[in-house]
Amino acid sequence: MTIIHEMDRSNPNAIEARNMSVYYGSFRAVKNVNLAIEKNRITALIGPSGCGKSTVLRSFNRMNDLVASARVEGEILFHGENIYAPGVDPVNVRRRIGMVFQKPNPFPKSIYENVAYGPRINGWKLSKSQMDELVERSLRGAALWDEVKDKLNQNGLSLSGGQQQRLCIARALAVEPEVILMDEPCSALDPISTLKIEELMFELRQNYTIIIVTHNMQQASRASDYTAFFLMDSDRAGQLIEYGPTSQIFQNPKDERTEQYISGRFG
């Protein structure tokens, strides 16, 4: 099933799931996933709807803790440490593994305050000019600065959908995470905004590790380095079917089901 050990990699792992299963109550949504994510690369999670992509992604920064019935088994290693080990504070995990959601969800605050929120609650002692600088750097990082630099005090919700999503990316960048999880970040956006975000991901990859869930095959094939294909088994539990460099998954899949999926025969 896993071929990670055969992969020729230049970077260490950013995150590694070992034998991970996720339950909602008694329902096992994800079963025995082994997945090692390479640092400073873009990894795409693909598969039909309901196969557990979001569940896997949200397990990586313990967002599933917010669902009362959710439970994770196995290990998820971040810097060699299991983030589900007793005593690990999910707040600390999320400060280092950020997240961008499917629907843009800026706070109903000004553009500036949206970006400054994370550093503020993190208790970073920044002077006004340092904060200005951080806000600018984050907005530049999200390729949004030029469009908003003259209206930083406007409400974040006054922006277009694509701009709002980049604002959410800027907000995530401001806390300087190591990994950014993106759950179908372009599904609510038009094609031009989508391309902008994809270009942005390529820029960000130099400094961040990106894991993106997408239902868009073209997006996975053109915008990712690695692709992980999930499918549910007869119990509706999601499983990792195939994982490898994106070019290999799309041009030369080893599993027949992968081939069927990417050629659009089901899902």
């Binding site: 707040v91 997240m99 959601f101 969800n105 706070f107 605050k109 929120y117």
Partner: protein, 304 residues
């Protein structure tokens, strides 16, 4: 099908039924509007009658209120100060406790706790105010006298504190509705940035719901201003211009009770004072409502 067919009702009986229902609803709405208008007009009418005998200057500048004494004085401030004092004490209790309860219920409690605590809170709102009044007079005041020996039997402190307890469910319940209405996507955004529960509640959810929270506070305040039984029973019947919470005072509502229960002749000057005081009370709540409307619009953080 010709165009005229579209104009003809399919079922004439049903069309007439619709019409009757519409008229009935209109009448019901009209009744409440006319009643309100009628109340306001009679208030204004009798208030004008009052001011034909007492100058508005005296009403607004005199510091004594003794319409039932031989030496009649008509300064409204003693009643206003008592109303403001008892209401302010009530708000000092109701706002923090109500908000804490709301934040707890909306952001910290799990479903089971929420489902049990919210109805309990609403029971608190169903206790008759006369019960609260006697509780203040016969329980809280004697208790407080252990700590404040100079406390009078009737005082605005006990009345205000108990009124605050009475108002907790209003603040808690309405604020909780406002907090719960904030979309979950904002919570996820905040948690995703590494916020603690407390930070999510205070920095994201509360600001996003602030218009609803302010509305609940203003509503509680206008309830406090209009509250009658608790202050009539526990705060005293002594009009005096003071902000000392330990002495007996008389609120606008207590005065109305006193005169209504007495044998004031219809049409007399002291009878007209009822309307002048009632009108002042009405102005108070009216201004509060306008203020609330303005605040809600000014602070609304629109999400979506």
């Amino acid at each position: 099908m010709a165009v005229t067919d579209l104009r003809k009702p399919i079922n004439p009986v049903r069309a007439i039924g619709e019409r009757i229902i519409q008229i009935a609803l209109l009448l019901a709405a009209a009744v409440s509007i006319f009643t309100t208008a009628g109340i306001v007009f009679s208030l204004i009418f009798e208030t004008i009658a009052f001011f034909s005998e007492v100058s508005i200057i005296e009403f607004l500048t005199d510091t004594e209120w003794t319409p039932l004494f031989a030496n009649q004085r008509f300064g409204i401030w003693p009643l206003v100060s008592a109303t403001v004092l008892t209401s302010a004490i009530a708000m000092v209790v109701a706002v923090p406790l109500g908000l804490i309860a709301a934040i707890f219920l909306s952001e910290f409690a799990n479903d089971r706790v929420r489902r049990t605590v919210k109805p309990l809170l609403e029971i608190l709102a169903g206790i008759p105010t006369v019960v609260y009044g006697y509780f203040a007079l016969t329980f809280l005041t004697p208790l407080l006298r252990n700590f404040i020996p100079t406390l009078s039997i009737f005082n605005s402190l006990s009345a205000g504190l108990i009124m605050g307890v009475m108002l907790i469910p209003i603040v808690a319940s309405l604020s909780e509705d406002a907090l719960s209405a904030v979309p979950n996507s904002l919570r996820e955004a905040a948690y995703g940035l590494g916020s603690t529960r407390f930070e999510v509640a205070v920095h994201v959810i509360l600001p996003a719901a602030i218009s609803g929270v302010i509305a609940s506070i203003v509503l509680a305040f206008s309830r406090a201003v209009g509250e009658t039984m608790i202050v009539a029973i526990a705060a005293g019947q002594n009009p005096r211009l003071t902000f000392d919470p330990t002495v007996p005072v008389m609120t606008m509502t207590s005065y109305i009770v006193q005169v209504s229960l007495g044998d004031t002749p219809y049409g007399s000057l002291s009878y007209h004072t009822l309307y002048a005081v009632g009108f002042t009370l009405f102005l108070f709540t009216f201004v509060l409502n306008i203020f609330s409307y303005w605040m809600v619009r000014k602070f609304r953080e629109v999400y979506d």
